[in-house]
Point group: D2
Chain length 427, copies 4
């Protein structure tokens, strides 16, 4: 059984002003080694290369998701909503706090390179022999399994899942506000207090009172702007592409029994796909950066060069492409070879459609629960059926092809004229 | 010769909104490997252990100091002040940008442990065989030496020094605003725009028009609050103390030819006091954190334990002490021995008077140039001679003794009753 | 000839931080009786009845429009754009400052009731025997006529007109930011600094560099939200409708030689459509409120009742209507008669399409100059041709019919059931 | 008996984000004619003449005081503090909402001129035949008398009085934040949320937990800055002095049976000291401004001139004086006579010590309850006994003599040279 702290604990937070902890279990989870590790993993991966202020960690974000969840539940309890299952409070708070526990350094790039999945790692940490697991079991022996079910979206009470993972969940609400704060952009703001007042439990779902529709519209417009102007920023993508290429190269070398200038057990098991939970917990951005730093002196020139580019922020250039121009880029491979660069590692044709963010699309019901509004007659409707602005935004597909290449490419002799025009003029 | 960029570059910054770069030299310096390294060093050392949002780097701060300096100079030029030596513009901008270049990871602790000095390292990087040096020399062969002179406060034109280093310099103005923003506290705000409008060059000094006195008062009150509530926060100190103990232990072990679970060339030369500029540039927080992480598995139990405490944020406890209570703490050493902990590494009696920050004290003229106001009759006076509030604040000495100790101490058997009262009741 | 002030004057402003005055003429205009009168006229008419914080005056807004214009021009001059006619600087600043000089109290309602036009009054004040006219002529004998031409949009240099009056002019930019600040809503914010950096003169127009497109999108999204959630708020409309009814009733009574409980020369000439400039300058919100207050004791019960409702904020209720439901409301007249209320003064069917605000519609070229972007190849294009989000927003027509009626109506006996359902359920 | 609203009502507020109303009685009070009247009275009197943004009304402030009180009580109830008398909730909320109900237009000046007292008027309105009285009696027949007792600080439970009126009451906390917001100055901010969390009921007083001491220090520093830089601003004082002179002149004329160009029953009874509650409720800023406007055409040249100066903001000039320079100002009377101005109405020697604001002074216990802190051992102490910064601020007396005079004075012939130096040089 988890008890209440004799005295409420507070964290000063730039986004929510204060984060309040009232439960012993939450307090212990925050102080666990596995949760403290999140301080060593940036929330926004390579975005700090575009927005220098965006150096905040997943630790800050996780506290924020917890706090929003706490406020929602506190509102539910205060209002005495009968559709709210009060016994799920601690589960919700723990799941909110821990939902990103399995994130590794530069998650997106590493997950692609090593075919891992942070949600699965979250479950393994929660279920494994960890401090977090011990703390959870002390509160309730079934809590670890329940949290894993919430993370995997298989928990039977969908209302718990939708608090943590839906089109307008505590996770998204925190990261939009937090990422806007730390990057310094003006787009990410919306009226969180209004939304928190307007959400309520309703027949197993979280819904929003219709009178909160404008606040939801504003949230979706913020999200739209953040996606295109922060999350999909091509400079950030350029950093991610460089990371992917480093991992690709390192894997190839590892397969070829290369002697690395630096390699420890953690990295070795990462390459071997044989990481234990304990190994995984040693994987953080510090380790990756030290590896990259040592690899700048590696005997493999490609690995050394790519790592140097990343650390010193000498990123790949990019130009936007119309779909009709894509065939033109075939010439890039030849030109790269002419300047002595391996095309497998020095170019990338990108279309940011496979990224982990999305603008609101009401159709995608299976994946993420849509936003439901509750009108005065207690009827539910999906927001885009009533909001013209949401309908307008949802229909937009702004994805743009980009080609990424090193600046040296422009020095290639005898580049096809049309290609040169394309690359030189627009970059 | 340094030229102007064909197009002004901008950085989005949460504190100053935008940072503008118009000079080629500044642009190249920002993109140099040595300056990019500052992204891997936190501005506030261990403060993130108290204020989780304070994860910003010296890179962000350095850009901010540059921007404030740029705005001041731009104001001077626009106003056509004859006391402003226009030819010093680029020197001022470069010195502002680079003034923290020599900071290492957890500077304060490392400097104490290894008797190094970040200002000296800044000079060595600026003068050594580095990208920064090359870029500066391209603009003006004497620029590196001049910058070193500004950093060392020996540059003949004191007005240049006082822009970068005085009681109200661009450095302090940026860090008060920035640290307030990232920690989320409300204290650090003051009216930067007003101050920038009120400063002017006057007979070789930077002075403030008397009508800006209230804004300066507000700046000094912010500084007062930030020092006591952020910079000297005992939890932050606790982190620093742990770091110092780790370094102390590692040095002792290194002297004793211990075989570390991790040690690379960079660290080896740190211990040997034989670092070159190139070594120093490899020293960043990532390396220290990886070392600590590996040392948690070291064969030396003290080193392993201290590193684990730091990484997992199991900090030392503390209680405030009256001066008369200090003798009581002699008993702590015995008690630590009883619970099997070496007092040399597990306790610390702290008085935060030897720290790198200070509240404004008008007497300390030699160290930092005082704040001079210029009245309507063109007479200068030191601010505290006219401002009662500055006089009041300056006279306050709030330093407080604290004793730091591990929580386990409280479990020591047969602790003197008076000591137990002291430690248990207040912690 | 207008000279420079020996010392720059500043106004502290919550929206722009500081407003700077460098010209004698501007300083004198601000201190003129006619400009000071704007302190007695609220910027947002009846919006304070919805958003209690929105009590700011046209004086504040006018200073803000001046300041934005000053910053734009200062940017143009600093950048040395050859397409900028430098000799028009003072004209632009004066026109920006004075553009709302002719606004009367509760402009929208009064203009409708008395068929007046605030832009025409601005011109009459600028051209008449006023302090403003004297100050302008002192600077340049042709300045009054030029300002009138800018206000009437007939000034030959369109670039001057477009600074003051276009789809993204200084007027709109200030009021969106200012109204958001004073109402406290989050919607009205956009990146003013970015936009100011991106606008430039180009062949007689003000255009925006293409790289500023996202900031313009954000501005248009803010505008969209402000229109529907602040400017068209039905409670604000309810206040305006009440005002219109008061004016209607007073006009009818005046035509019938009624003896008012209060009437002074200013009001008499308002009713007579015989106001001189001097009369008009005596017309402010204080006078209207005193008239309303005295009229609460008028012998005409309708006038007395309407004025009491307005002063005590007992507004008309409202319900939204589908177009198909409009015929239903015919029954309201009968019901009002049954409860003893004159339908001519106690009901209103509203469709907010004829209001003085609009969402961006690219087609309306004649009225307001559209937003033109300038791409890297120096080609101009209208923003909606390239921005999907602007295209989406522009197509939306969110206007909604509302019926306004007094609460007493619901007490009417034998109301048609369908009507009662409509009014009772939704209000 | 007062009930709960079926649905919580919200007001959007720029300072507190939202203001929540849950009680029928509060909702009805807000909608009463007497409370709506506060919309027509500015919070900061003549401060808008210095800070143009400061146009907010006592209506906004009163809602804010209510909201802070509501949050404090809600916190008390949630925490289950046994020292909190729960039955006093509605009384506290009503008293908070209504505490400024008796303010008239330009309160400070009118109270001095007509020897009235806004707190007494608040009581008369609450106890008289008013809507407010009816609403209160409906909730509890004794409520009007209780509220009057709270306003008069005679209510037996001091804890209720101290919520509304003490050194750190809801009134001050709201106006510091609100006035800072509307003027745009940076000084008035402090950590309201932290203070609200730290206050608690303790043996009949409101006290603050010692761990909230820094937040209280910050509040007192804000208050210090606001007093000297906003409330005592000499331009604001200049407006107040002009108002006092207008009232002085009007009273003299009224005593002499002058025929005013405008006078209605309300004003007549103001001059006669025979106002009923009903008269008083007709007294608002609109009425005063209309009177001033009409009086600009009065046959008495002094009254006409003073009113014109006020409306057009042609204020009196001022210069600061050392105490030793005061005798010099005797010459001003003669000089005024030389330029044809009556010294009784055109000069004023001011020392802002008799003003309705004060910096915290712990000694003044009788007037305002001091700030008590509660330490970990449940002992109370007055804050300045432990806080050096509060002690420092409290000791400061910054009052400064000023002489106010019309600009024309400087044109006086044969002014004593020393006086001319004084007035000319410093103004």
């Amino acid at each position: 059984m988890s008890g209440k702290l004799s005295e409420e604990k507070v964290f000063k937070d730039p986004v929510h002003n204060y984060i309040y902890v009232q439960d012993e279990t939450i307090w212990e989870l925050i102080n666990s080694a596995e949760f403290q590790r999140l301080r060593r993993i940036r929330q926004l991966g390579t975005s700090y290369l575009t927005f220098h202020g965006a150096e905040h960690s997943r630790f800050s974000h996780s506290l924020g998701v917890y706090e929003i969840t706490r406020r929602i539940i506190s509102q539910f309890e205060k209002s005495g909503f009968s559709d709210w299952p009060r016994e799920e409070r601690l589960l919700c708070l723990c799941a909110a706090l821990l939902h990103d526990l399995g994130h590794g350094p530069f998650s997106h790039s590493i997950e692609r390179a090593f075919n891992s999945d942070h949600e699965e790692w979250t479950c393994r940490i929660v279920l494994g022999e960890t401090q977090v697991n011990r703390i959870l079991r002390k509160a309730d022996p079934e809590l670890p399994e329940k949290i894993a079910a919430v993370i995997r979206k298989t928990y039977e009470k969908k209302i718990v899942v939708s608090l943590i993972s839906s089109q307008m969940d505590a996770d998204r609400m925190d990261y939009l506000l937090r990422d806007a704060y730390y990057t310094g952009v003006d787009y990410g703001t919306f009226d969180l207090e209004r939304i928190l007042r307007m959400v309520r439990p309703h027949k197993g779902h979280i819904v929003v009172k219709e009178s909160g529709m404008h606040a939801v519209e504003d949230y979706l417009m913020s999200r739209y702007q953040m996606y295109w102007q922060v999350y999909f920023h091509p400079v950030t993508r350029s950093g991610e592409i460089l990371l992917s290429k480093i991992f690709d190269r390192a894997r190839v070398l590892y397969g070829g029994a290369h002697t690395f200038s630096f390699l420890n057990d953690t990295l070795r098991r990462l390459f071997d796909h044989s990481m234990t939970v304990n190994d995984y917990l040693h994987l953080d951005e510090a380790l990756m950066q030290v590896a990259f730093m040592q690899w700048t002196k590696d005997s493999d020139p490609v690995l050394a060069d790519l790592c140097g580019r990343f650390l010193d922020r000498r990123l790949l250039k990019y130009v936007p492409l119309e779909e009709s121009e894509i065939p033109l880029t075939r010439g890039v491979r030849d030109c790269l070879l002419k300047v002595g660069l391996d095309p497998d590692y020095y170019m990338y044709l990108d279309f940011p459609a496979d990224l982990p963010y999305d603008v609101y699309k009401p159709g995608e019901v299976e994946e993420k629960l849509p936003i439901l509004l509750l009108d005065a007659r207690d009827q539910l409707f999906e927001i885009s059926s009533r909001s013209e602005i949401v309908r307008s935004i949802s229909g937009i597909r702004q994805g743009q092809h980009h080609i990424y290449f090193p600046e040296e490419l422009l020095a290639a002799e005898s580049m096809p004229d049309e290609l040169w025009q394309l690359l030189q003029k627009r970059s």
